[in-house]
Symmetry: C2
Subunit: 160 residues, 2 copies
């Protein structure tokens, strides 16, 4: 049963008190957690998860996309799209049918049920988004968006 006083060494740097980068990264992660929790609770009312909702909105916007297109738009792996579509197809929210011009591809579309569910959610969705940002004024929200866009741009330029 080792009673180590050895972790002191690490604890010195444990706080990273000098680093503004660390503080920023940690707050991004925390903020995301809050967004996730709020949205998950909200979407559960409709028997949806936040990623499923996101998927539905993109299927709607793209109009019969291939699964490949969906993955790119969602910034998610291709197999993940397959599995997510399997589920919401089983729930009757989307339809998949092969593209006659290229039989490798499958085109995805909202079902009548998916379309009406999306309409229903949309009516109250904006209020939820406002609720997430309730602590900030509109000016601050715009400032936050600007800063995060700048941070994001530094990576998307080099990656894509």
């Amino acid at each position: 049963m080792p009673d180590s006083s050895e972790s002191i060494e690490l604890n010195i740097r444990d706080e990273f008190s000098a680093s503004s980068a660390r503080a920023a990264v940690v707050s991004v992660v925390r903020a995301y957690g809050i967004v996730q929790r709020l949205m998950a609770t909200y979407f559960a009312q409709f028997d949806l998860t936040p990623p499923q909702f996101q998927l539905l909105t993109i299927v709607n916007r793209l109009r019969k996309p291939t699964q490949r297109q969906l993955a790119r738009e969602l910034y998610v792996s291709f197999p993940n799209v397959t599995v997510m579509l399997d589920r919401i197809e089983k729930a009757g929210l989307i339809l998949r049918f092969p593209n006659v011009e290229d039989k490798r591809e499958k085109l995805v579309e909202l079902s009548e049920r998916g379309r009406s569910l999306l309409k229903k959610i949309w009516k109250v969705h904006q209020e939820q988004l406002d609720l997430v940002m309730v602590g900030l004024t509109e000016t601050e929200q715009k400032q936050l968006t600007r800063l995060l866009h700048k941070m994001i741009a530094a990576h998307t330029n080099t990656t894509e």
Copy 2:
């Protein structure tokens, strides 16, 4: 094969162009995605995932915490801690032993291997954090942290 022009209705609000809250939420989610990707790639070198690294740092800081304490500190469910500990215990990075004063509890501790791995990572971890925020000046990083803290505070006040 329904060729619907029905989604137009939704597409009107699809952009949410008027909402600064939506833009802010979306950018938080995108920024988190970038943090996740970078960190996952980085930690993979050490055969760790970001949550596993986070777990190790907290075990180190708390000094023989119970699993309950870990869950609270990680903002994660209790069963999740069990499963994550199972894995990193199997990898030989932590030890679990029952608390003699309350045999329901298990105390968690870094193994020698876990401690030395953590030390190794720590040496270069700060650089990774700086890399995430490379697009922002230090002033902007602090501004970002301040805004996110304010946003977070609006929720933690009511929730905790």
